[in-house]
């Protein structure tokens, strides 16, 4: 593991940080489009050691956070449907819906199971033929192959009591919506490493080509992020926006063709609603008609009342990069990770949670310490 653990060696960080500090770019704003990066940037203390003219901003990179309240309410309604066991990833449990969270529904005696993997949901379906197992599937391109694989396995194994409620989304329409809205000026983008491992680094070429914005695909260790940031600043300095793959030990230009092929076999794109952005065309993944027997939306005719977000919550604007969590009046007072009012405070990758946990303790890679 020595080669891989070398990426965690923060003593190496100082050297590249010096190089970053010498880059002559003028004020720049670098945005990351991945919740994993949000956390890694805070945890490594990168924000606090960047030169003053380099501003780091988070975009809509947390799938839990961009899930709309209407979709959350649908999950809650599914969990309350007689005979159903709702299975989902742990991240979703505490997110407040319009009335209640899945956690509250579970506490009231309905069956909500946290699973680590869709594999566990399939095992549950096999173990409980008397019940309907509905998997509430959130996530971006990284997570979609696991959902596709589950549906394909359910068909092979003849599982008739397994279905999927898909609220999965595609990152590129989200990124385009943010840039198109024009609320924030973005000079460079840290590209999502694990999304790119599936769809390929080339999928992000539209940033330099159509928007003139440099992009560096990055891993999640401190050295990866420093390397990506330095590549971005260099491209700004040289005024030559391009794509740099700074995570080549994982990401290939074409991505994981097999995984994405399975996603395309099982899912089609559809218009879907994002928190903070509204409905974005072709930004969601829905089961194809040929897999409709696994589609929970068809199997259970769920209708929900009008959904509502907490009136004080500014998650939508936080996700668009228009405000930071510190601009929210209830940040850290009535909204905390223990009693969150919005998803950005619940999810470990949400900006509000990251600010709450790391804001004042981020000094890990301070040079010269």
């Amino acid at each position: 593991m020595s080669v891989l653990s070398a990426f965690r060696d923060s003593s190496r960080a100082r050297v590249i940080l010096e190089q970053i500090r010498r880059r002559d770019t003028g004020p720049v704003c670098i945005m990351e489009f991945c919740g994993g990066h949000t956390v890694a940037i805070f945890r490594s203390g990168l924000r606090s050691v960047m030169p003053e003219h380099v501003r780091m901003l988070s975009g809509p990179g947390c799938p839990v956070c961009v899930t709309s309240n209407a979709d959350l309410d649908r999950a809650v309604a599914l969990a309350k449907t007689p005979g159903v066991i709702l299975a989902t990833y742990g991240d979703m449990l505490r997110v407040p819906g319009s009335q209640e969270s899945l956690m509250q529904v579970k506490a009231r005696g309905f069956d909500v199971e946290v699973v680590y993997s869709t594999l566990d949901a399939l095992s549950l379906a096999e173990a409980r033929p008397d019940r309907e197992i509905v998997f509430f599937g959130i996530g971006f391109e990284t997570t979609a192959p696991a959902a596709a694989a589950a549906v394909l396995q359910a068909r092979t194994r003849g599982l008739r009591n397994f279905s999927l409620c898909s609220v999965m989304k595609l990152t590129i329409p989200g990124a385009k919506a943010l840039l198109g809205a024009g609320d924030v000026h973005v000079d460079a983008v840290i590209g999502p490493g694990h999304v790119a491992s599936i769809i390929g680094s080339d999928a992000w070429r539209f940033l330099p080509e159509d928007y003139g914005i440099p992009v560096a695909i990055s891993g999640f260790e401190t050295l990866d992020l420093l390397m990506a940031t330095d590549a971005l600043l260099r491209m700004i300095e040289e005024k030559s926006p391009d794509l740099v793959n700074a995570y080549s030990r994982i990401v290939r230009p074409e991505g994981n063709r097999k995984a994405w092929g399975m996603v395309e076999q099982v899912f089609d794109t559809r218009d879907t609603s994002w928190r903070g952005f509204g409905v974005l065309p072709d930004s969601g993944l829905a089961l194809r008609e040929s897999f409709s027997e696994f589609d929970a939306d068809i199997r259970f005719n769920i209708s929900i009342e009008e959904s509502a977000e907490h009136p004080a919550c500014r998650c939508g604007e936080v996700l668009r990069g228009v405000v930071t969590p510190l601009d929210c009046n209830v940040f850290g007072t009535s909204c905390t990770p223990e009693s969150p009012l919005g998803p950005c405070m619940v999810s470990s990758e949400g900006s509000c949670a990251a600010y709450y946990h790391y804001q004042r303790v981020s000094t890990a890679v301070h040079p010269g310490d």
Binding site: A6, F140, A146, S197
Partner: protein, 85 residues
């Protein structure tokens, strides 16, 4: 959510499954979405129970070499690591 972690393949099993060592814990994961083959001893990247990539150790080494070049350059130009320029 998109977090994925490296793990070492310990054993290949039936139905495209494998036993891996994930930071000292043994876990069974699926190789179903992996493009290409994983062999015992390889490091794979695991996301929600599925291996999504085999980690390319040569590429990892190449990236580290880049750091070393930067470091050597810094030392040559009289900016030892850690000093402000």
């Amino acid at each position: 959510m998109c977090l994925a972690v490296p793990a070492k393949v310990l054993e290949l099993r039936d139905n495209q499954m494998a036993l891996v060592d994930l930071n000292g814990t043994q876990r069974e994961i699926s190789l179903m979405v992996l493009d290409g083959e994983a062999a015992v001893g390889d490091f794979v990247l695991i996301h929600v129970g599925y291996a999504i990539e085999v980690i390319d150790e040569e590429e990892a080494q190449r990236t580290l070499q880049l750091f070393e070049e930067i470091e050597a350059f810094e030392n040559r130009t009289g900016n030892p690591p850690g000093t402000a320029s």
